[in-house]
């Protein structure tokens, strides 16, 4: 039998760049295929060829053995190929059914009326058939990102797609939504649909796909079955050299106290308490990690520390001085570097070029400011040095921040903040959206800072990251630390328990630093109620 999708010898050249070089790809009907590679490896280009957005320079696309030539996505859609882009193509104020049928509306009254009942029925039928739980009359802006993604899938199915291409489908989903998506994959493939998804995350490819094709620099490095391959092998295929999956930390005696946080409470933007009395300290030459499911008060805690949010109670002491009421600029001037969680919102000005972005936060200081003017020559040299040291691509200080991929934006921010020569680095999700080669590099830089005797506060939802890099690891749940543990001895199950709001009475807990939940009956009861669905068996 012919494979559902067969791309034969695809080469795609852009002026000056070969994005795909003689790539072969075969995907069996009813299977899930992951297209794995680092940013810029040519995954999206290859899929855009399959979806008819680009015409290949050389090579042919076969569907079920039939050669195809697509002039536009319209042709691809007609041939049964559907694509779900990373940024959803949905009209927010319109309803689910309006979005699903957009452009292919069923009509009555000689075309003068959209047949709403038929459209709604088609949507309900499809979502029942594939086990989606979607209300056809809900507005897109009112439903969760996970549901929006299903609407995108429904759109493709409504147009008769047999082959579904998903571009980085889990990038915007919560862990629970990711699990649901894998279930959707299963349901779809059971009914004969073929799925290709683009990813740069090894774990995701290994858990969701049947087969994995790895692209590197536009070349197919190999296609492997998921059962016969390890993470390390895949990582090596992607990067082209051996990758140390676990950063090596060398024991080191921490120095002076750099940051001291005492009983800090903070509210979120709606005025609800998000941080409920957190205390810890970070010493020089130490990485203090905070793990937890996103949205458990990490953002507000970090904002209270970095001077972006007023703590409602408690105190933050930095280098021996209280920071209450200090402006954001004072925080920067005193050597506190900050890698924010939302790089596009807070890390960069998207319409500025890298020269301008490179001096953000230092624009008052020499050498960038001199006598009321900005020294653009110094600024450019600074940006160029960050670009070179942190391997930002394209290496062009005049490129606008928005023209860079997410991973490169992140590398630039990290570079800018590290080069401030800080005493404390507050890093939130420093490697989110960054490919594994660069992640390894950023981890190494973080550890170098630690070796230089800097203090690092690392907040991340990636468990292996915080566990691998931290000297001490706190777990936050609903605004309180459920435990501070030694990452070298704690098990993943134990961290899972802490993240779900349980406490450990084990020895691995550093008793003194733990928020004592047992003596706080109110807090305990609340924890039990809310953790219901997430409990982990020890």
């Amino acid at each position: 039998m012919n494979p559902a999708v067969h791309m034969d010898g695809i080469t795609k050249r852009f002026p000056g760049v070969v994005a795909n070089d003689d790539v072969d790809l075969a995907v069996e009907r009813g299977s899930v295929h992951a297209l794995l590679g680092e940013n810029g490896a040519g995954k999206t280009t290859l899929m855009n060829v399959l979806y008819g957005l680009y015409e290949p320079t050389e090579g042919t696309v076969f569907l079920d053995g039939e050669p195809q030539s697509f002039d536009s996505p319209r042709d691809a859609i007609d041939a049964g190929v559907g694509m779900i882009h990373q940024h959803f193509m949905l009209v927010d104020p319109m309803t689910v059914w309006e979005n699903v049928v957009l452009g292919n509306e069923p009509k009555t009254w000689g075309g003068l009326r959209v047949d709403e009942d038929a459209a709604r029925e088609a949507v309900v039928d499809l979502s029942e058939r594939y086990g989606f739980d979607v209300d056809p009359d809900a507005r897109i802006e009112d439903v969760s990102v996970g549901v929006q993604q299903r609407v995108e899938i429904l759109k493709a199915l409504y147009r008769g797609a047999d082959v579904l291409i998903l571009d980085e489908p889990t990038a915007v989903l919560t862990p629970q939504e990711v699990e649901d998506l894998y279930d959707v994959f299963e349901e779809l493939t059971d009914q004969g649909k073929t799925i290709i998804f683009i990813s740069h995350k090894l774990g995701e490819a290994l858990s969701a796909a049947d087969e994995i094709t790895v692209l590197r620099d536009g070349v197919n490095v190999g296609t492997v079955a998921t059962d016969g391959v390890t993470r390390e092998e895949l990582a090596e295929m992607m990067v082209g050299r051996e990758v140390l999956m676990d950063p090596a930390t060398t024991p080191q005696e921490p120095g002076d106290r750099v940051l001291e946080v005492t009983d800090v409470r903070a509210e979120d933007d709606r005025g609800v308490e998000a941080v409920s009395g957190v205390s810890f300290e970070v010493r020089a030459g130490e990485v203090f990690g905070i793990a937890g499911v996103d949205g458990n008060g990490q953002s507000q805690l970090v904002e209270a520390i970095t001077g972006m949010r007023e703590a409602t109670d408690g105190s933050v002491t930095y280098l021996g001085e209280p920071m209450a009421g200090a402006s954001r600029r004072e925080h920067i001037d005193r050597g506190m570097a900050f890698i924010p969680e939302d790089r596009q919102e807070r890390g960069l000005v998207m319409s500025y070029d890298l020269t301008e972005n490179g001096i953000l936060g230092s624009q008052h200081d020499p050498p960038f400011a001199s006598g009321g003017r900005l020294d653009w020559r110094a600024s450019r040299e600074h940006a160029e040095s960050v670009i070179e040291q942190y391997d930002v691509r394209p290496p062009n200080a005049d490129a606008e921040a928005e023209s860079l991929s997410g991973g490169n934006q992140q590398k630039f921010i990290v570079g800018r903040e590290f080069e401030r020569d800080p005493d404390l680095v507050v890093a939130m999700h420093p490697t989110r959206g960054v490919d594994i080669g660069s992640t390894e590099f950023l981890h190494d830089r973080l550890l170098e800072l630690r070796a230089e005797g800097k203090a690092v506060l690392l907040v991340s939802s990636k468990l292996d990251e915080v566990q691998g890099l931290s000297d001490r690891l706190a777990v936050i749940h609903e605004g309180e630390f459920t435990g501070v543990v030694d990452p070298a001895t704690v098990t993943e199950e134990e961290i899972g328990l802490l993240m779900a709001g349980e406490t450990l009475d084990d020895d691995s807990v550093e008793g003194a630093a733990v928020h004592d939940a047992a003596t706080d009956p109110a807090g305990d009861a609340e924890t039990d109620d809310d953790a219901g669905g997430e409990e982990v068996d020890a």
């Binding site: 882009h85 193509m89 949905l90 009209v91 319109m94 309006e98 957009l102 452009g103 075309g111 009326r113």
Partner: protein, 350 residues
């Protein structure tokens, strides 16, 4: 606090109103008029009595209808353009050009003559629509194909028409005002056109596939593009419709008098800009736009009559009534939401 006006059910029209905002607008207007009617009937000699006499007279109805036609029709046109993502602030210019073209062509054909069995005045009417549509077409090409700034291009449309119409009038008729045709289109035709256009627009926007595409083009053009519908075509259609509807409005305005007045701001006198306020006020709903347009036109008609009653209030102050009302109502009833991609150019990716 919830606006209590938004909870009132309106018979017949109820299904056409999708927002609390438009609902409160209609209920409020009807309520004020009703109170005026009651007070006017109870106290015929008071100010309320005078006002009620003016508001509910047939001559006020006629002049309201005449003044409302360009506001409502251009406003409806503006909805089509803006929903598709092109902000057309050149509506004023479209009204001016169609007002002049209709009178000019009607006079060239000659009242009493006919072309293909169509009487001269209606030939003029169609010519006005054609002129406005053509100018809107140029505006569309400039904005959509050449990606000019919509606000600047819209201002250019207004300024071109503002200069061109009186100039042509001077060339052809020897003065900025054309001579009177000696024939006119009855205000009843205007009223019918306004009502038909309102409901047809509502249907087109809310019930047809074209309406959905229009909305998608203005909210998230990429979503429309990726399902294979041309964003440019949809936007051109939206802009052209703004030309057609404004043309009907401008022609109706000029032909209801039988003359084009080109002095000062011309006879259009900012009605194209009031039209923009009307559709924003009506929250892009044609029925709301009709209500807002009639309200402004009615206030205008009433203030003209009030000036004649000789209250000890300066005329210039009376003339500001419609504008004061606009501001008061806007402040009281809240805000409208612009389409997400309005004013932004769209480029396909292949």
């Amino acid at each position: 606090m919830r606006n209590p006006l938004a909870d009132v059910t309106i018979p017949i029209l109820d299904d056409l109103i999708e927002s609390d905002y438009v609902r409160s607008l209609i209920v409020g207007t009807v309520g004020v008029l009703g109170a005026l009617l009651v007070f006017g009937a109870l106290f015929p000699d008071s100010v309320a009595g005078d006002l009620s006499g003016i508001v509910f007279s047939s001559s006020t109805a006629a002049s309201t209808s005449r003044l409302a036609a360009p506001i409502v029709l251009a406003g409806l046109g503006g909805i089509f353009a803006e929903k598709s993502g092109v902000i057309n602030i050149g509506l004023e210019g479209l009204l001016i050009i169609s007002a002049f073209a209709s009178v000019y062509v009607a006079s060239v054909v000659g009242i009493g003559n006919a072309v293909l069995g169509i009487p001269a005045i209606w030939v003029g009417f169609l010519a006005g629509v054609a002129a406005s549509t053509a100018l809107a077409g140029v505006f569309g090409v400039v904005c959509i194909e050449f990606k000019a700034d919509q606000i600047i291009a819209g201002l250019a449309v207004w300024l071109i028409a503002l200069g061109l119409a009186p100039f042509m009038s001077t060339v052809f008729f020897g003065g900025v005002n054309t001579p009177n045709l000696g024939a006119r289109v009855s205000w009843r035709y205007s009223a019918v056109m306004v009502v038909v256009a309102t409901f047809a627009s509502w249907w087109a926007l809310n019930r047809t596939a074209f309406g959905k595409h229009l909305r998608a083009a203005g909210e998230n053009p990429k979503a429309l593009d990726t399902v294979g519908v041309s964003v440019s075509k949809v936007r051109h259609a939206g802009v052209l419709l703004s030309g057609v509807l404004s043309g009907v409005g401008g022609s109706a305005l000029a032909l209801s008098i039988g003359q084009f007045v080109g002095s000062g701001e011309t006879m259009v006198q900012g009605k194209g800009f009031i039209a923009i306020v009307a559709y924003l006020f009506g929250n892009y709903n044609p029925v709301g736009t009709l209500g807002a347009g009639v309200l402004f036109a009615g206030l205008d008609a009433v203030q003209i009559r009030l000036q004649q009653l000789g209250y000890a209030v300066p005329d210039t102050l009376v003339q500001t009534i419609p504008y004061v009302v606009v501001i008061v109502v806007l402040a009281l009833v809240g805000r409208t939401r612009l389409p997400e991609a309005a004013g932004e150019h769209y480029e396909t990716e292949d």
